[in-house]
Symmetry: C3
Subunit: 340 residues, 3 copies
């Protein structure tokens, strides 16, 4: 896709200084943008780059005054960062609207209701009694089981696996390798040391605007539903066990695991490689630092926890500061004992 | 699928109190069951819910005496929990027997032996010289390489990838995204700083009744076999490296990793996010707490380990109790030094 | 595939002692090799196994002197370990060259350039404007998006997902479930508590001889490129976030996560379950022990770090040695205070 710099300036309502007819086809950072790309200058500490950048066009502040010669064409706007973000969104919108229609071979069971402007990639599979909303994109090798409901504008990337009975709101994005609705890890120990599988008959319910990163797994509930509320963002390789509930607008970083039946509040921030034991409750706006292990409920809104077993963040740092000097502490104790 | 309450009562040999002709089509927990579902009351502390539940039917103890009016139809049995579990299993059996036959397009190489009552979903792939037992279910997008043997009643969910030469017993369940037999991580360092790949020519052998959670990986052996014995249950996103051996009926929770050539005993319980170094040995009935890092063998049967580097569970907790008070400990030491 | 022992001896330029006409079809370790397989004896501490092994042939040192009767045919060579490794490579080369040609149905968009001797498995998907080099193998259910470039001799195993605009060098191996180029985890917090997606418009660039383990994820850059340099080896279930850069010949073990924009040097060794925060820099030849959590840059070449927050490896071990005795330390302090 190619645009002239004039076309971009028109979208951003900016003023051109230089050659508006040059074509750009990519977007880059000022420090490594190449010829044929557009970039921006917002933070003054990057100003030096504008004199050496290979970019064809740079979005700058209306009042920017160059102190050396600039090769690139300038697009002058009121707020370069906002304009640039706007450009990213426009670019993304255009490229993502390319996929529409059906590639063959694809599989769609009888009794399936498909909305308008849907993309179904080659080798995609859609089960019986499933409904897809308008503008849904189902990439190649995506599997959508029976009795699944998917709202408008959802993007299901290649290789996503959605088990039967899943319910998904609107505007969700599921990245490659995501598994939704696999069996919870439930087994009843038997007298002879073996384990008997407890059937996992529940489902998963996702709200609106949920985004789930590559290879993350959300197990179905034993009974009832595992629930991921609207606005939740999950990074890659996360484990969400059966019957977990996650409140709206909570974000969770990569490789974190939440054990069965635990409830996480709204607007929480959970860092990477965190582990939460099962059957606990986390309040709203709670923060858990990276690699924290949480074995007890944290109901206090806004709490910040760290370490394993988890402590208040500040307390943990104080303890760790002493930990780093433990050999010295021990030596001083030895010394005191000798002196006595 | 719909049943009348009378039909359910007949399966459970229970007595009906109320409208046996009402139809139910789902199963739920008493606190959130909806009209059209059946639930149960076993634990007396949940009794209050029976007076407000929306469920159409509740399985209760033969001698249950209501203290307020109950809307739901009752099914009286000797042991409500056991009856309910029985119902879950029946339901699961019925729903899981739906998938039989072949959906097209699917791929099956020449020289493949397929048993009776097999399901091969659309876009499933079965390689050369592979055998599938009776009642095996191969969901869409499952890949089964060459020279693989899969026993009776195994369920291979959508998107499972099984490399060549894998051997799998009976009644195994592999969830979406599971990878069996990928190359072990073996590289020989060269003088120039590069690494040369060591060919990974072994395979993976799974026993009977092995269940493996979504996106878990089991690497093939360098030579010989990586072995997962009968009755082992692996949760999601677990890493099993090359030449690992796991004894029968051991259960491992999500996101744990076991490094190359380590042997784990029978009936062990390994919690989530645990890491085991390579080339060590774990005895039978050993328990490893969540996030434990194990760098040495634990041969003692029944040992319980925690922390990293791992210690006896009780010892670790005692040390951590002091860790939580380290700043105070340091202050007291400072005080003593001053006094001296 | 079957070879006579004479054929193997000819490849290794070894001398036969015994029946050269016996056929072998597999390769094994001396302690558990079966009839019909070839093994080797290099380390003298394994000598006892040569008198009991079931293997049909054993590769031994030219000067090996048996002290008891040996059933197996011997192949005498100058360096048994090197000869055996050579055999593994030959075996691997032969078996891996089997896959060539196209299995149907497969999907290939218009405008795609495919080299010589390519394998495209059934249900593989290749997008528009994509190029595949010579000898590339694309296994079933692999997805290669639009505008992707894949160099000669790459192996893309079943179920790998490669997003649009990825660039890959020569001789790379991607194992099942690998995801390359999924969106980075970038969201801008809004005043109402929701998050707005930041479009992820960059790509991923892999060098030559990169190997990536099963279910590992490499996110695309927000802008620019996430870069994995030549010779890097990634194990299974690893997370590489947006805009990360990894220097050549660095090896990373399973379940490690590297956060956004972090730069890792050349020839580093990062163990399993390690976590690196975003926007830091790691020098060349740095080692990070298992489960380390790194929150600050480590620019010193050759540094070895351990623990969380990470410390110098030796210092951490010293501190942990005192940690293990903290209850005793506390008791001694109590005692001193009483005495005073």
């Amino acid at each position: 896709m190619e645009f002239t710099i004039s076309q971009i300036a028109a979208i951003l309502r900016g003023e051109i200084e230089g050659n508006g007819q040059e074509k750009v086809k990519s977007i880059g950072k000022i420090e490594d943008a190449q010829r044929g790309s557009v970039t921006f200058l917002s933070n003054p500490k990057y100003e030096n780059y504008i004199y050496s950048t290979q970019a064809s066009a740079v979005i700058v502040h209306r009042d920017f005054v160059a102190t050396k010669p600039v090769q690139a064409t300038l697009i002058r706007v009121a707020d370069p960062y906002t304009s640039f973000t706007r450009l990213l969104e426009e670019y993304d919108k255009i490229t993502s609207y390319i996929k529409v229609g059906v590639e063959e071979p694809s599989y769609i069971a009888v009794g399936t209701a498909v909305g308008q402007n849907v993309y179904r990639g080659a080798f995609s599979y859609i089960g019986a009694n499933t409904t897809l909303g308008n503008n849904v994109k189902v990439y190649p090798h995506a599997y959508i089981g029976d009795n699944v409901a998917i709202g408008d504008n959802c993007i299901i990337y290649s290789g996503v696996k959605i088990y039967a009975n899943t319910v998904m709101g609107q505007n969700c994005i599921l990245h490659s390798g995501v598994v939704i609705g696999s069996d919870g890890f439930g087994f009843a120990p038997q007298a002879d040391g073996t384990y008997k599988k407890i059937p996992q008959l529940g489902n998963v319910i996702l709200g609106d605007h949920v985004e789930i990163g590559a290879n993350t797994v959300v197990d179905c509930a034993t009974m009832g539903s595992t629930k991921i509320d609207s606005g939740v963002k999950l990074d890659n390789l996360i484990q969400i066990a059966h019957n977990v509930q996650i409140g709206s607008n909570t974000v969770i970083a990569s490789q974190t695991g939440i054990s069965g039946s635990t409830k996480v509040g709204k607007n929480c921030v959970i860092a990477g490689q965190v582990g939460l034991v099962g059957h606990i409750e986390i309040g709203d706006r709670v923060t858990l630092a990276a690699k924290t292990g949480l074995a007890k409920s944290v109901k206090k809104e806004g709490a910040v926890k760290f370490g394993y077993p988890a402590m208040d963040h500040k307390d943990y740092l104080k303890c760790h500061a002493v930990f780093r000097n433990l050999p010295e502490l021990r030596d001083r104790l030895n010394e005191l004992e000798k002196k006595y």
